[in-house]
């Protein structure tokens, strides 16, 4: 695809702002910024790697003048097309802004630039006995900025919440090129609109997040882990419900369904029974005595619900062993067919059996393979569709199935996206969840901040 002539002047100015060593417009480089981790693709006109909020402000002023789309991007590991330049324009990569500016041990917060890799922050705070709890599976590569923009979740959502629960404030460049500071470094604030939460999960459509104040908590001193295998999904779901009802709040409560168990067995030969309906991986953490007592309750509940097999880790090696199946789940499923589509429909946790049953019926109806695994504790499933995008006929069935999965989640009181965001991939389904009024209200906010619709256009709204 040729570059857009109308943007040549803007791009020349922007190259001058950052210096030519931080600006790329060859076709090869543009092709390498045409994607994220979905099947969505579109080629940008150029890629820029700014080094400061001031540079970003100048870039936005220029882009706004030329009405050129600007697409903020972190590591490009998103699962909803959030960083794909669907209307072309300029990809603004934030990876150069990768400094941890402050870790405050007295007030339990960190200030980081948005290009910091989430794992890097975790490692840095862990050395001080602290924790930044949101742990999306991509955390070894994805950036904090991307996590905040997509309101990423993770495995610890049930007990610790998700990204939005840890964002205290930020510095944002607006689409018109102004630098805006939101939030505070205090636990409490009641000053005006909660702009911090407005930008959190805004998917790069409202502003470019440059740095972020994040809440930290003391790291739990102890962990206990149990793996339980069940004959059918209902027993596993009842176990989840009983654990919560007993007042136990596990840090991790992950499940794999039968399709996923079989894929894991084909791939790793761990020794899981192939006829098992579900596997639960449960971890408690906190003060040692509490974590031990809680895992004891968990074990009792698993037994009461007729777990076929119950294994508790006594050592760190054994814990790693229990995690093997869960860690292998995505790889195992991804190796079955050439194309893997990872969805994140989420339901209230009590509806998980209905959701899994419904997804299996949809798979049967459209004759496609879907594995389910995910975060049972917070109702966040990952229906994972195993297909081949080159097979047009099959892929048409996949698209119908995806839409039915969303309808199912909504009919069970759930949401079409638990933690991946809407982006371009789910934009056409968003009205189903938020309604026309919801869309109009959101679009009014978008219009107020981005009058020329230059920031990440084509996302959320269609």
């Amino acid at each position: 695809m040729l570059k857009n002539k109308a943007f040549e002047g803007a791009l020349e100015t922007i190259k001058g702002i950052v210096g030519k060593e931080h600006f790329y417009d060859s076709y090869e480089e543009r092709l390498c910024y045409s994607y994220d981790a979905t099947l969505e693709e579109a080629i940008p006109d150029a890629i820029v790697f700014p080094g400061s909020a001031e540079e970003i402000a100048l870039i936005m002023k220029t882009a706004n003048e030329y009405k050129m789309p600007v697409i903020p991007r972190g590591a490009g590991t998103g699962l909803s097309g959030g960083s794909v330049p669907v209307k072309n324009g300029l990809v603004l990569n934030l990876c150069r802004l990768n400094r941890i500016l402050e870790i405050n041990q007295k007030d339990y917060y960190a200030v980081v630039e948005s290009g910091v890799i989430t794992q890097t922050l975790n490692d840095a705070v862990a050395k001080l006995g602290l924790m930044y709890p949101p742990d999306p599976s991509s955390m070894k590569t994805s950036t904090i900025g991307g996590n905040v923009a997509e309101n990423a979740g993770g495995l610890r959502g049930l007990k610790y919440g998700v990204t939005k629960d840890y964002v205290m404030g930020m510095e944002v460049v607006t689409p018109t090129g102004e630098i805006l500071k939101t939030g505070t470094r205090t636990v409490k604030t009641a000053t005006g609109y909660n702009m911090t939460q407005l930008f959190t999960g805004s998917e790069g459509t409202l502003g470019i997040i440059v740095n972020i104040v994040l809440k930290l908590i003391p790291a739990p001193e102890h962990k206990e882990s149990v793996l339980a295998i069940f004959k059918d999904m209902n027993q596993a779901a009842q176990t989840v419900a009983d654990i919560i009802a007993a007042g136990v709040m596990p840090a991790t409560l992950e499940f794999l369904d039968n399709t996923t168990i079989n894929a894991v067995e084909d791939y790793k030969h761990i020794g899981l029974p192939r006829d098992a309906g579900a596997v639960l991986l449960i971890e408690t953490d906190g003060v040692k005595e509490a974590a031990v007592k809680e895992i004891g309750r968990v074990e009792e509940i698993c037994k009461k619900n007729e777990a076929l097999n119950l294994r508790k880790a006594e050592t760190e090696d054994e814990r790693e062993n229990l995690w093997q199946a869960r860690r292998a789940a995505l790889s195992a499923l991804a190796r079955v067919r050439p194309t893997t589509i990872l969805e994140d429909a989420t339901v209230p946790r009590s509806r998980i059996p209905d959701m899994v049953r419904g997804v299996n019926e949809i798979a049967k109806k459209y004759n496609i393979r879907i594995g389910n695994f995910g975060h049972a504790g917070d109702g966040n499933l990952h229906p994972t569709i195993l297909t081949d995008e080159r097979d047009k006929e099959e892929f048409a069935r996949v698209e119908k199935a995806v839409e039915e999965i969303f309808d199912l989640a909504l009919s069970l009181g759930g949401t079409i996206s638990g933690e991946h965001g809407i982006g371009s991939a789910k934009a056409r389904f968003m009205p189903k969840e938020v309604g026309e009024v919801g869309i109009r209200a959101m679009y009014a906010v978008k219009k107020a901040l981005d009058p020329n619709n230059i920031l990440n256009p084509g996302k959320m709204f269609v």
């Binding site: 090869e28 990876c95 590569t141 190796r335």
Partner: protein, 368 residues
């Protein structure tokens, strides 16, 4: 324009998750998508479908791959990245794409004098004592490799002394030794490499060689992958570990140093030798063995394979490894690969860190 269509299934497998960013040493320095497997595979896919010409940009993206294969270890769908990159490089050459000057010089040197350094073939054995310069029939061959023969003969001399001390009956090929073919395979010239491999095999057959011992990890990898049908390849450190365990070699001198062992990609991920160098070092009295946070199959490449073609990038990558070693409190950074040793020394210079970079063979000799 057909371009590696036969590898389509491997190419379309990439789910573009970006996990390869975590393990790619080149991406860690450059931060560029065209410098990590996901981007490279996307470019290969575009070339396969005729959406892009085999431009210099595409070529540079592929040639900056270290072939370290760290990304394959964590790749969810299991894209065979190392093999795919080699196949794509080879297909590019076949399509008539010329190599950049730095690599072409290496190619011409190997084709002419059977070494990458533009040194005369007739002087290959000059580092050897006269009595070892002529090949003779033996069960064990010591294949020094180009780097040891022409630039790092200290490593070769250490290996010879250790072998002699253990009473091993071995021979060398002297001036008749040739390049193993690995540098050519890396740049995509598999056809020329095949000729070298055939010549080496014929020569070794003439002298009845059964085992080939080499201190060069690159040669070791090439032998495992391309020679194992006629000989059994052994990395020298692997062989010495065996001799120590059999009681044929004994350490007598203590060596009270903190040593971190670096798993080079060719001996480690490609060669599958992880424990033997550690066992050898642990057997030296007084020596404290440290570990990199990422070790064995998760080890991060030193950048060595790019030292000839993209030296600045290679040295930057190495300086990161040296920094990690210094943070561990290591006094010695040990490796069992001439390329790693050379580049890690460059990395220490670049980082301004005084780090004693040592060959494992040399450490063994010192402690005997």
């Amino acid at each position: 324009m057909a371009f590696i269509q036969e590898h389509e299934e491997d190419i379309v497998k990439c789910m573009k998750c970006g996990n390869c960013q975590e393990t790619c040493p080149v991406y860690q320095i450059t931060g560029m998508e065209s410098r990590v497997a996901r981007g490279r595979v996307r470019l290969i896919k575009a070339a396969m479908r005729g959406d892009i010409e085999l431009t210099d940009g595409v070529q540079e993206s592929l040639l900056t791959c270290l072939q370290c294969d760290a990304c394959s270890v964590t790749c969810p769908p299991g894209v065979p990245v190392n093999d795919l990159m080699l196949q794509a490089k080879a297909a590019m050459l076949k399509k008539g794409k010329t190599l950049p000057e730095s690599l072409n010089r290496i190619r011409v040197n190997i084709e002419g004098e059977s070494n990458p350094f533009s040194q005369p073939k007739k002087e290959r054995g000059a580092w050897l004592p006269p009595e070892l310069r002529q090949p003779r029939s033996a069960k064990y061959l010591l294949h020094a490799g180009c780097a040891v023969s022409y630039a790092q003969s200290r490593i070769g001399k250490a290996v010879i002394r250790i072998l002699q001390q253990a009473g091993v009956d071995f021979t060398l090929m002297g001036d008749r030794e040739e390049c193993c073919g690995d540098p050519l395979i890396r740049m995509g010239d598999a056809e020329q490499a095949e000729l070298l491999i055939a010549r080496n095999k014929a020569l070794w057959k003439e002298f009845g060689i059964e085992y080939v011992i080499t201190p060069c990890a690159g040669c070791f990898k090439a032998m495992k992958e391309h020679y194992a049908d006629v000989i059994k390849p052994l990395h020298s450190v692997q062989f010495f570990d065996q001799l120590i365990k059999e009681g044929k070699l004994k350490f007598t001198k203590p060596f009270a140093k903190k040593v971190v062992y670096f798993d080079g990609c060719d001996i480690g991920r490609h060669g599958g030798v992880y424990e033997e160098p550690r066992d050898v070092l642990r057997a030296i009295s007084g020596l404290t063995l440290l570990e990199f946070a990422k070790n064995r199959q998760n080890s991060v490449c030193c950048g060595g394979p790019l030292l000839g073609s993209y030296p600045e990038l290679a040295k930057k990558i190495a300086s990161e490894r040296v920094r990690e070693a210094a943070e561990l409190g290591a006094e010695i950074l040990a490796a069992a690969c001439p390329t790693c040793l050379l580049n890690l020394k460059e990395g220490a210079n670049l980082a301004g860190i005084k780090m004693d970079v040592q060959d494992v063979n040399a450490l063994i000799m010192r402690a005997l």
